[in-house]
């Protein structure tokens, strides 16, 4: 089972912080995190958000003057731990 999430990267930390603030105020599920390693070798701050909200979120960013550098779709591997395997296994039965 594969999970995906989307991240936006920014040129400045300020915009990352604004991203979280503005979108949380509007009830979106967003979270700041270090830029995922798969995306870049830099160590800045990125914002995670649900991929299906991409269009709306980017539109809000544009309205609010939050400059987004790139948006990436990242595969979530952590769900492959033993717990989720167990759950999957039970589901199959």
């Amino acid at each position: 089972m594969k999970y995906f999430y989307c991240v936006a990267t920014f040129h400045s930390t300020y915009h990352a912080l604004q991203f979280e603030k503005v979108l949380k105020e509007r009830g979106y599920e967003v979270k700041l995190m270090p830029v995922p390693r798969q995306v870049s070798s830099s160590c800045g701050t990125a914002g995670e958000f649900p991929c299906d909200k991409k269009e709306e979120i980017l539109k809000i960013c544009e309205e609010e003057g939050i400059i987004v550098d790139q948006v990436y779709k990242v595969e979530k591997k952590e769900k492959n731990n033993w717990l989720s395997k167990l759950v999957n296994f039970n589901m199959k039965i």
């Binding site: 040129h11 701050t45 003057g65 550098d69």
Partner: protein, 364 residues
């Protein structure tokens, strides 16, 4: 994320254990790896300062750069980039080094000192955290050195080539290169072991992005503990390594710690300056060294700033010694704090003005 957490703790642990081994093999006490001290030693070996006890071309540094370079090349992550406020980076790096040499060690050595029972490092750590906290306040208000852009390909090779030249100079030892006959500069592990360990650390850290400033910054700014767990890895494994390899040298306390002084105020303020500069630069000296290997010319100019800072620190008697912090060093730290805070404020004001022009409301 569990997987990557294990990786970053392991990479920190690798740095910690290898640092302990380097001390066992001849590096100065609590200085298995110290990026600031090693750049200072290299600066001295090149004759840019004349402190005769701290002159040696530390092969670990070219190792870090080339290890990161090779790994970045293999993974297709080598990118020639730069142009983000180079002169401000130079100045910030300059004062980062002044702060580090007043404390006697970069943030990495601070962790290694702590892992060998040197409690002065706790004072330094508190100062470092305060410095990073001040830096994050600037980041929150809009501080940025600006984005880096693509640069001519050859520029990215600056530091890797510099690293190769350093290795050649070390091995050929021409008469214009200075090597300490006594003091910390005369103490070193065998050249090829140091180089090999440097290459290994450089390659691993290119993958995991371990950064002493980033670790604490992320906790303060976004409550993320990913990079911090790497620092805990360094501490735990350096502690373990010291207890295994250097047990006789392990002592808990403030007094008579190797290559350290116990002047609380200046240990604290030196590291405050270092932390503030590191967070505005976006990475500690270790991380900058790795980035320079990846073709990042902003990191390359940062390294030149570090070396200039080291040269001035010894030429102007700013650097501390186990005897304490000289008067000039105290003045330099205060000047540094003032200048760096001015840089922080000016960039924030600059940003606010620009945003206002664009018609965007800024909240206080």
């Amino acid at each position: 994320m569990r997987d990557s957490k294990i990786k970053i703790i392991a990479s920190g642990g690798l740095v910690g254990i290898l640092a302990a081994i380097l001390v066992k093999l001849g590096n100065p006490a609590n200085m298995g790896v110290c990026v600031a001290c090693f750049f200072r030693d290299i600066t001295g070996a090149l004759g840019l300062h004349r402190a005769s006890v701290v002159q040696y071309i530390r092969p670990e540094i070219p190792g870090f750069i080339l290890g990161a370079f090779i790994m970045a090349k293999i993974k297709g992550e080598f990118k020639s980039r730069g142009g983000s406020a180079p002169i401000l980076r130079f100045i910030l790096a300059f004062f980062l080094m002044i702060g580090a040499l007043v404390f006697l060690g970069c943030p990495l050595r601070m962790i290694l000192r702590l892992a060998n029972g040197d409690l002065n490092a706790i004072v330094g750590l508190l100062g470092y955290i305060v410095g990073i906290w001040i830096g994050t306040q600037f980041l929150k208000k809009g501080f940025t050195l600006g984005r880096s852009v693509k640069q001519p390909e050859i520029g990215g090779y600056t530091m890797p080539v510099f690293a190769i030249i350093l290795i050649i100079l070390l091995l050929s030892a021409p008469s214009f290169i200075l090597f300490s006959e006594k003091g910390p500069g005369s103490m070193h592990a065998p050249v090829f072991i140091s180089l090999g360990i440097g290459l290994l650390i450089g390659a691993v850290l290119q993958r995991t992005r371990l950064c002493t400033a980033g670790g604490i910054r992320d906790v303060i700014l976004i409550r993320d503990f990913h990079l911090l767990s790497g620092l805990i890895g360094i501490f735990l494994f350096a502690l373990l390594g010291n207890l295994i390899f250097n047990y006789n040298a392990f002592q808990i306390g403030f007094a008579n710690q190797p290559i350290a002084h116990n002047d609380f105020v200046w240990n604290f303020l030196g590291m405050t300056l270092t932390g503030l500069c590191a967070v505005l630069l976006g990475g500690c000296p270790l991380r900058q060294t790795i980035l320079a290997g990846e073709g990042d010319q902003d990191a390359a100019i940062t390294i030149l700033g570090l070396m200039a800072g080291a040269a001035f620190a010894h030429n102007f008697s700013l650097a501390a010694s186990p005897k304490g912090v000289p008067y000039n060093g105290k003045i330099a730290v205060i000047i540094g704090l003032i200048i760096v805070v001015i840089i922080g404020f000016s960039k924030v004001l600059d940003f606010v003005r620009k945003e206002n022009k664009g018609g965007v409301q800024i909240e206080a």
